[in-house]
Symmetry: C2
């Protein structure tokens, strides 16, 4: 037995062809029979299963209830002795971290931008009763904040509704479209937005609240225009905070294996800054911007103003998807660690219900923070009980400690936020690697980033999403394709461009097209074929028709004589069937040649008329369809047309390596109405062997002299003469569009 | 030599494996070398070509000019004697047809809807000076029509600009996205819109000019509400016209081979109706709605009001694409017939410039009518001279004949339009066929139709376009996949589901995934793998870790003893390593087993602890990637993770039939940093043979007794012990998203 690499081609004896057909059946038919049997079998199994399942339907109903309300599942099983203590410890720790660490979630920023756009400062100017402040306008802080809370809670309600709908529609998979490059670009843009919004606070420079397209740029410009008004006390406090925070964070990071807990520098800085501001009375002495008033107590439940929904729809959509995607990405980490699986749609429903509920209690959109989750897990949290306890701790902290923070400079808080942005901005360094690995991914990154800066985060994310989808379509539309040849004398076919020692079988072209064939890329597919075979089948056919007409004319005029073994020119060089370069035709020339005289011409030899008929050096075209993963109606029609166009000029088209479902589609769309199934082969090599065998057996039958011959006694019209009919059929392509042109 | 169908597998001798590797090289490296050489060669060729081309650059400049302004090409070559006469005949015929036949272009309708929305009747009410008409409001017809003409010409200008931009950006290919199902649905919706708009005229019932979403439905409702106000004279005239026109058209169609020219029934009906209306003075006697006033003369050029652009952007985009697509689809018919090729982008530029120019002369958006084109061609038109002549004829007709049509009832004109809609509505019959052939295409049809009715034609077309693109993405995202086995003892691998007599090689699973692997479908890909192999690799690994820990504990406690040839339970059935059903873990249990005692367990035999470790019945997984047409960064990373996950549980992953550019992408994205290239094979069969050979040679070395053994003197840490490191690496997946969760 020889190695497969050195398999030589089998001798072309007729038995071979026969045994080949038997051992490799035309597989679609076989597949169909087998599928039918299999389906029957499946139905039988299903029926048996159904019979069994009826008995346990009650059990299942309880299961469904537990799935919808997981608390019914875990609370009755709660092991108080084992779990309660660790839940309490974990809850308290998480609560403290939540209070101390000022985290920066993207969702806050997105909600913030909506709130600012719907309730800008300008809406809350009040007339100052005393005329002292000439330029400074007074803002009704209380009314403004109340309006903003209302907007935020309306947003929460809408986000909840969207999430619930998504969950019920089972479209949790859309999160997959938030690909890493898109998220990278989006996050960097978010960091930039945060930077600008905090910069204004650090400098204590007031600007208008710009919104919509390019608002971030306008804000930046205005900040620099008013940079002269910078409050030095705020600026210095902010700058110091940034430097200290970043330095300590760097140390935390570098020595993370040596120190037990990272230094909570944000908390330390905040406490010190509050003390300084209070001691030095920075507000009075330096006009510094301080926190000033933290409202306490809780708002009663209220129905948010639903009429705002239409204004915040795009933003809500973005927020709903982003909040959910963050939560699921964190959840997956623990799902892997503790070996359970996450049901994306269940999560969507859970977040949806939770947000709808909190929408009535002036709450913020819910999502997940990795750091807090990590604390809860590492301190031994077992169940949601820990979550309830940590929420309680945060609540106490807000109520009790809020008052103490009132003298704190706002610029210090802003600086803490900025100090945390470093990681986000460092993502820019990913771009060169991405560009090297996959240019399209890099483009998605940059596009999403720029769009999120220009259009705002919500519209930016949406446009990034759509752009990402378009790149998928484009990648499918402009696929790679190769002309193939066989490696030495093996059955392996590889690109003639990328490999040396490739031989194309004589008189054949093999094309591999690496993409589905559908309405978007049929033109590309046709171009690939044209470029592979080296000529345009329609053009060749038209030129041949033209030449035929001229030959007929010349024969009628007596300038040419037709013999059994060819056409002989009488007039020599003086024949006037000269084709002008600027080729505008007589309408009567376009008539199909009459059937009075029918001629068979060997188109690859010299023709007695000077029509420039392109040579067709091949007799077969093999399409390797292994990578054609689906077809649509337009794709099937194109394949039919292509087969016909090539048949008209005596080139046979064969298909190799089609997948079963693709063949099924061809069957459904009527491909086999005008094509036989024996043009399909299991592999390219099978097709090539078949063609080579065909050619050899033909050569024995035909003599070359006979091919250039005039068959005046030919009774059946030649295939070439059916042009009118075929033309009409070939034109079905843009039928729908032409119908618009009445 | 035997037929390839019956090739038996080669005997697994060691030489075979060697020769195999040599004869089928790891092809990416070979490909790269060859590509480099080829590129050098190409550069050389390019340089030579450049050197040659300098000499003919002047000739080329002229060529470019002629491409931009084709008239420079054909006018100097105009053969007056031969062509002028037929051009004149053709021009006159086309002009007459254009005048007589009231054609119905979709573009008119689209323009009309924009005009109506921006200049509704309501804007032009005037106070009636006499109090006679109590309910009827007067409309300033002249002002309204002037405003509407201005809007139409502004639209023409904007459409021209869009087309020019599209042409310059070379994105003529977007027309391909107007697939036939989409156009079918769109046209039917357009017909419906026309029907409703004309119905109102036939009944002579006035309604408000609704616009935007659902306007067509509102209009329809109002028509039926006011149906009592129907003007009987108009209704009867309209109904008669419809019946007559449709009947005669049916006859025309049925006897088209017997009659020389179709009966121009529209012209005949129009003339008769005008005469009757004039003779019977229908306006006065029956209050019929007549044409009344046709303005004559030409408007001077003027700059259209550019400030309207923003309001008509979406509509202009749709109109620009539709007008262009119609023209190109007609053009293609003649391109095929006369053997020239159409440059889509050139057409875009031509239409763009033409529309921009006409925008200043109160003109309508230009497109192509198939019927007029057919007349021009069949009557012998040779050049654009015929076009100029036919335009002249139409102009004369408008100026001269307009006045004569003023007594005509509007309902007759409306009826003529409706009689021409039949073909459009008949397209509904395509749906069942489409559904049978390709469900997605049918859904696109219906979706586009409904959207175009609900949202209006412009937004409907856009949403249909986007929907079509989404279906492409979904088709790529949810691809077909199959577990494979070989047909009897051949090298052909087919789906185990669809075929009988398929045998899966022992201890192996083969998966064929028919789609690119990219961010949108990596989850689907993983599910396919899980479903093919029948277990979850991560879960298996975690359960094994857990069992290992329990075995270690038991060994420490002395309840288990480890021997060279296995682990022996001392305590028998009383061992307490029982795994509870409700399985919540102690945090300390999750520690990685210490390296003090290292154990090698045969996971497929009985384990002495009661941990439910899923059995892994395979040693190899082969991924058939023939249909993976591209990968992105996320896809490559998933492949890396999958290989690692399976390696941890001693399953080797092999790749077969990858395309060259896919291997290149793997190389670029660092796949080979942690994977050797010898897991890649040219075909599935090669991979299977390789694995089978490996297994056989291993079986000779290993004795089964040795596999269940404790290797206390083992020095190197086992692969299983590297879990911590691997876990971190495996978690890189949603990194970008988790970064948002700070």
């Amino acid at each position: 037995m020889e190695a497969p690499g050195s398999r030589s081609e089998p001798p072309p004896n007729p038995e071979y062809s026969g045994s080949y057909v038997v051992s490799r059946p035309v597989y679609s038919e076989l597949a169909f029979q087998q599928q039918c049997e299999r389906r029957l079998q499946e139905r039988r199994t299903l029926r048996e299963r159904l019979a069994k399942s009826c008995s346990c339907s009650r059990k299942r109903a309880l299961g469904v209830l537990k799935t919808l309300l997981p608390i019914l599942d875990w609370l009755p099983k709660y092991r108080i002795k084992e779990w309660l203590l660790s839940d309490i410890i974990s809850g308290v720790s998480t609560g403290l971290v939540g209070t101390l660490q000022g985290p920066f979630p993207v969702v806050s920023l997105m909600v913030g931008s909506v709130v600012l756009s719907l309730a800008p400062d300008e809406n809350f100017f009040i007339l100052s009763s005393n005329g002292t402040a000439s330029n400074a306008t007074m803002i009704d802080n209380v009314a403004r904040d109340a309006a903003r809370v209302l907007i935020a809670s309306t947003l929460t309600l809408l986000v909840g509704i969207i999430q619930l709908v998504f969950g019920c529609l089972q479209i949790g998979f859309i999160v997959r479209y938030l690909a890493d490059p898109l998220v990278g670009g989006f996050t960097t843009a978010a960091a930039f937005q945060v930077l600008v919004s905090q910069l204004k606070i650090i400098l204590n420079v007031s600007t208008k609240n710009y919104n919509g397209v390019l608002s971030i740029i306008y804000t930046l410009v205005e900040i620099f225009q008013n940079i002269g008004n910078t409050n030095l006390a705020d600026f210095i406090a902010g700058l110091l905070t940034i430097i200290i925070c970043m330095a300590v964070k760097e140390l935390n990071d570098r020595f993370k294996h040596k120190i037990p807990v990272p230094i909570p520098i944000e908390v330390i800085v905040t406490i010190i800054a509050t003390a300084i501001s209070y001691g030095a009375n920075l507000e009075k002495n330096y006009n510094a911007g301080i926190v000033k008033y933290i409202p306490r107590g809780f708002l009663p439940p209220a129905l948010p103003p639903v009429n705002l929904f239409s204004k915040m729809l795009a933003a809500s959509f973005s927020i709903a998807v982003v909040a959910y995607a963050i939560a699921v990405s964190v959840g997956k980490v623990y799902a892997i660690k503790y070996d359970y699986s996450i049901d994306g749609n269940q999560e969507f429903i859970a977040f949806g219900i939770s947000n709808i509920f909190s929408g009535f209690f002036s709450c913020f959109v819910a999502t997940t923070a990795l750091s807090r989750t990590a604390v809860q897990e590492s301190t031994g949290g077992k169940t949601q009980v820990a979550g309830i306890i940590s929420a309680g701790i945060v609540m106490i902290a807000i109520v009790a400690l809020g008052k103490l923070l009132e003298p704190l400079q706002k610029s210090v808080l802003a600086a803490v936020v900025i100090a945390n942005l470093k990681g986000m901005f460092m993502q820019v360094c990913d771009i060169p690697r991405l560009w090297r690995q996959n240019k399209i991914d890099a483009v998605i990154w940059v596009f999403t980033c720029i769009m999120s800066i220009i259009l705002g985060l919500d519209l930016g994310l949406l446009s990034g999403l759509v752009f990402g989808l378009l790149t998928v379509v484009l990648r499918v539309q402009f696929p790679s394709w190769n002309g193939l040849g066989s490696i030495l004398s093996t059955d392996i076919y590889k690109s003639t461009k990328n490999y040396k020692n490739i031989e194309e079988p004589e008189g054949m072209k093999i094309l591999r097209f690496s993409s589905p064939i559908f309405y978007g890329n049929v033109d590309v597919f046709k171009k690939c074929i044209k470029s592979t075979v080296g000529f345009d089948a329609i053009r060749v056919y038209n030129k041949r028709l033209k030449a035929l007409r001229k030959i007929q004319k010349l024969i009628k005029k007596g300038q040419l004589r037709a013999r059994k073994n060819g056409i002989i020119s009488d007039a020599g060089s003086s024949n006037n069937a000269f084709e002008p370069d600027e080729d505008i035709e007589d309408p009567e020339e376009l008539d199909i040649p009459t059937k009075e005289i029918e001629i068979q011409v060997d188109w690859n030899s010299e023709i007695p008329v000077k029509v420039n008929v392109p040579k067709v050096p091949i007799h077969s075209l093999v399409l390797d369809c292994a990578a054609v993963s689906f077809l649509d109606v337009v794709g099937v029609r194109s394949l039919r047309v292509i087969v016909k166009e090539f048949q008209r000029i005596d080139v046979n088209v064969y298909f190799a390596s089609l997948q079963d479902h693709v063949i099924e589609k061809l069957e459904k769309c009527g491909f086999f109405n005008d094509n036989r199934k024996d043009i399909f082969f299991l592999t390219v090599h099978d097709a090539v062997l078949h063609v080579q065998h065909q050619v050899k057996s033909q050569e024995i039958q035909d003599s070359i002299l006979e091919t250039i011959s005039l068959i005046q006694d030919h009774k059946d019209p030649l295939e070439l003469m059916e042009a009118e009919l075929t033309e009409e059929e070939l034109n079905v392509e843009d039928e729908a569009m032409r119908r618009l042109a009445t």
